[in-house]
């Protein structure tokens, strides 16, 4: 029985270009308070375009309705559980949105004098300092724009540190459970990737690691807890082994939500990690961004961080320090995604020390509760204890011809966003579930009821699952046709 949802009317809506008709306006500019100039005379006739062909002409009311109607075709955390594994889709506190829009924060220009930027710089410093404490690291840069950008920065730091000792080395080790960004990053940073298999508990296989480790290896990119939601109990040994060969350990902090206040990567031997502020620190995903990728390092890597760095001058004022001769350089213009940084700091201020730890405990509780309720119905991928997420496989359902992707689509009919499908790659038919701490018990119960009900449907009527979703305004989308002959912009019929 579907308890969380029932269908309701949604509006059809054309594309902006189809709504457009010549002469409609949605704007009004103030009258010019200076003389107008002739564009052709000023810029040269060759440099001036005719009107932008095809650009929409739509009224204000139609613009608002257009986007409001489209919004109702979306699912968001505001509507319910969003259990994407390793994505940490938690509640986005609205006070964060309010403070990020305060005029003299939102309108601060990156080149305005430092004497008139002290508040913005204080915010950078405050977040760096808070994240150092949470990560157990000695320094943090907030310059990278997103998680993968933080990974890239981290690997460049390792390269620079090794190069300073005479040899940047050639290889980065990546466990087979890693996010796809890890190997892609290593290659862009100029390394060759060597994959490391996981052991039967889903952790880094120490024997495999040892046999892959030689003096060409620059670093290991590890995710802890890993993408199975399993805390690698050998992590300290892994780090010690890497260090014994002069190599570094990079940690992907995508799963940092499992650790805040309980365990610190810097304390268990990690040299550099990134953390997605749009995951653990509650800034909104916004349909795919913006993010921000804070990168924390131990002190030996600090001289290599991207410039400029915020620091206090002798008079006690904040200043941007460009005098960083060993820096890897800039990874982004200006200083970082300040608007995201403001939101993340607001989140940390709201929780405080005890609140952050309690949030982590609730995240662990929610994942373990889901695991317990679903284990009789779905095959848990690995028996090791779960942290903030749990990964099942579709092994039992596949026997009836139903795969993880089908179950995910059927979940939509039950009023939920699907879990992460078919990832991590080491689990055949993976169903990766991360509830986060911001879900009430009632929502978790409804979710588990839905998945249990789907398990029963697969036994009695698999077709209903195979052709799901049935209740959405858009039925199953043909992704193959889209890729065969890509149409990526609107053209008049």
């Amino acid at each position: 029985m579907i308890r969380k949802s029932r269908s309701h009317i949604t509006q059809n809506e054309s594309l902006l270009f189809e709504l457009s008709s010549p002469g409609k306006l949605g704007y009004q500019l103030p009258a010019l308070d200076v003389p107008a100039v002739d564009p052709a005379a000023t810029l040269g006739a060759d440099n001036v375009r005719a009107g932008i062909e095809g650009f929409p002409e739509v009224s204000e009311v139609e613009t608002l309705r257009h986007f409001s109607r489209l919004s109702t075709w979306n699912y968001g955390i505001d509507l319910g559980l969003f259990p994407l594994g390793s994505c940490t889709m938690k509640y986005n506190p609205r006070i964060n949105e309010v403070v990020a829009r305060i005029d003299d924060l939102a309108w601060a220009h990156p080149y305005q004098p430092e004497s008139l930027s002290q508040g913005a710089m204080e915010i950078f410093a405050a977040l760096e300092c808070s994240l150092c404490e949470i990560f157990g690291m000695d320094a943090v840069t907030l310059q990278p724009a997103a998680g993968a950008h933080g990974e890239y920065t981290g690997i460049m730091l390792i390269r620079a540190w090794l190069a300073a000792q005479g040899d940047p080395r050639q290889v980065v080790l990546v466990p087979d459970s890693a996010h796809g960004t890890n190997p892609a990053t290593a290659v862009i940073a100029g390394y060759e990737v060597r994959n490391i298999r996981s052991n039967e508990q889903g952790m880094v296989d120490l024997t495999a690691l040892e046999s892959s480790l030689d003096d060409t290896v620059a670093a290991l990119m590890v995710t802890n807890p890993n993408t199975l939601g399993v805390f690698d109990e050998n992590i300290a040994k892994v780090c010690a082994l890497m260090h014994s060969k002069g190599a570094q350990v990079y940690m992907d902090g995508a799963n940092m939500n499992a650790l805040v206040g309980l365990s610190r990567p810097g304390d268990f031997g990690i040299d550099v990690l990134h953390s997605n502020l749009h995951k653990t620190f509650s800034t909104p995903h916004g349909g795919g961004g913006p993010g921000a990728g804070a990168v924390g390092v131990r002190s030996h890597l600090e001289p290599f961080l991207p410039h400029p760095r915020v620091r206090k001058d002798p008079q006690g004022a904040w200043t941007w320090d460009y005098d960083r001769p060993r820096s890897i350089g800039r990874v982004k213009a200006f200083y970082g995604n300040f608007g995201v940084i403001v939101r993340a700091l607001a989140y940390i201020l709201a929780h405080g020390s005890a609140g952050l730890r309690n949030a982590t405990l609730d995240a662990l509780l929610n994942a373990n509760y889901i695991r317990k309720l679903l284990e009789p119905h779905y095959q848990i991928a690995y028996p090791a204890p779960s942290m903030h997420e749990c990964v099942f496989s579709d092994a039992r359902q596949a026997a009836r011809g139903v795969r993880t992707g089908d179950i995910a689509k059927r979940l939509i009919d039950y009023g939920f966003h699907p879990y992460t499908v078919s990832f991590p790659l080491i689990v055949h038919g993976a169903m990766m579930i991360e509830p986060t701490e911001t879900e009430p018990k009632q929502e978790l119960d409804l979710f588990c009821d839905a998945l249990i009900s789907i398990a029963h449907e697969i036994e009695t009527d698999p077709q209903v699952v195979l052709h799901a979703p049935h209740l959405t305004r858009t039925s199953r989308v043909d992704e193959v046709a889209a890729a065969r002959k890509p149409v990526v912009r609107w053209k008049p019929a």
Binding site: V34, I123, E233, H285
Partner: protein, 438 residues
């Protein structure tokens, strides 16, 4: 804590289901040496009111009440209210990357519209769903050009935003490819074509130019494109001021356009988050980095959209991906989409014309360093005083003047880069003119 929606009774009930006695049991299996044995050294949690107070106090330490004539890649343009109204809707704000197309048609449709409008603006045939920002789009464009041409040498104009060039240099150093620069003409501020020609060869993957360039000068892209194409190199055109495309001829001669859309409804926000774009020719679609939304149908035959050509991307291709990029800037791109919709065809033109008029008023009677046509920024030499001294005079009148260029261009150490937009007020501009002429 107000973000944790459970009572202690519910927690106990859930723990009992899990067969656990306390919350601490949830991580009892962690090795002792990995556990933090003390509370985090952070202050106690704050109420909404206290948080608001904290950030208002920080804002007051910034440039409260100042007019500004800074541009240099970040522009103060009016933001129509609908941009925030739409971007604040929870269905957009709190959704994820639209992998589950059936319940993400809202985001997918807006991205398709975004891609279309970026093509219309730039004269290109394909645009992606956005990049982190303009500065990071530049090395992505260079990498794309290297994949297309099979060459590993990039030429970039010195008149491209200096911080964009720094980001490019960081990428090149780590990817072990080469970046060389070529100069600008000392009189016009435009590309030095002779210098470009002398440095171009059959190993050049692309030539990267910006228009309007960092000095605000409108470049002659046709000539640069012709030179690049002669040796089989691509032309990458960069823009930082998207409003200029309302008036300027689009870069039809370019092979790749890499730009920044901050001007379209994105507050300066002390440098980010912004939204970059990459647009190109249809024939290079499989080499474009980042996400793309494509048209398709659902099982009932209705029009639908989905992410497409994802076999280029890291989550499928891993180490063979075209880029490691994962996040795009969907929410920022949405604001830009609403902005483009509100202004529309007539509005973007009028907006660009107002910028042109304001900047030319600001430049009236003031000596300019370069004589080529400019859009809404220009360079002014300061005679007998340092640029900092001119700015100091203006600061006393609660005006932030221009950007002193010495930090980026030693040869322009006596110069200021000034910008006017539709938001610049005549009275403030009069004060700036007065200070510059003094």
């Amino acid at each position: 804590m107000r973000y944790l929606p459970k009572s202690d009774a519910e927690r106990r009930e859930m723990l009992a289901v899990c067969g656990l006695g306390s919350l601490e049991d949830l991580y009892a299996h962690l090795p002792a040496e990995t556990k933090l044995d003390r509370p985090l050294a952070l202050p106690p949690g704050k109420s909404e009111y206290e948080i608001l107070d904290y950030f208002k106090a920080r804002a007051a330490e910034n440039a409260a009440g100042y007019a500004s004539f800074l541009g240099a890649g970040v522009y103060a343009h009016y933001r129509p209210v609908l941009c925030d109204v739409v971007a604040s809707r929870g269905e957009f704000l709190t959704s994820y990357t639209p992998y589950q197309a059936e319940i993400a048609q809202g985001t997918l449709t807006t991205i398709f519209e975004f891609q279309t409008m970026v093509c219309q603006l730039t004269g290109m045939e394909v645009a992606n769903a956005s990049m982190y920002d303009g500065s990071t789009a530049v090395p992505e464009a260079a990498l794309m050009a290297m994949r297309i041409t099979g060459r590993e040498r990039v030429l970039v104009a010195r008149s491209v935003h200096p911080e964009y060039r720094e980001v490019l240099a960081t990428s090149a150093r780590n990817g072990r490819w080469e970046v060389a620069t070529f100069g600008y003409d000392a009189a016009s501020g435009r590309l030095n074509m002779a210098d470009l020609e002398s440095k171009l060869n059959r190993e050049t993957a692309c030539v990267i130019v910006q228009s309007p360039n960092f000095f605000g000068v409108v470049e002659q892209l046709k000539d640069a494109a012709a030179l690049a194409h002669q040796v089989g190199a691509l032309l990458v055109m960069v823009f930082t001021e998207a409003v200029s495309l309302g008036l300027l001829e689009p870069p039809r001669e370019a092979d790749i356009v890499a730009g920044e859309l901050q001007s379209f409804a994105i507050t300066p926000s002390y440098g980010g988050p912004f939204a970059g774009i990459i647009a190109t020719r249809e024939k290079y679609i499989r080499q474009i980095p980042g996400r793309l939304v494509g048209l398709t149908k659902d099982a009932a035959g209705n029009r639908a959209f989905c992410l497409t050509l994802s076999t280029r991307e890291q989550h499928i291709r891993r180490e063979k991906a075209t880029s490691n990029i994962c996040t795009n800037q969907a929410l920022i791109a949405l604001m830009a989409t609403v902005f483009m919709s509100v202004y529309g065809k007539a509005g973007l033109r009028e907006l660009a014309e107002q910028n042109l008029a304001k900047a030319h008023y600001l430049a009236g009677g003031v000596e300019r360093r370069f004589d080529a046509p400019f859009f809404n920024e220009f360079v002014v030499p300061c005679r007998g005083r340092s640029p900092e001294a001119v700015n100091a005079v203006l600061l006393e009148k609660k005006i932030i003047g221009g950007l002193p260029l010495g930090r980026f261009y030693p040869e322009l150490a006596n110069c200021l880069l000034l910008c006017a937009t539709e938001m610049s007020k005549r009275a403030d501009m009069d004060l700036v003119r007065e200070a510059l002429q003094a």
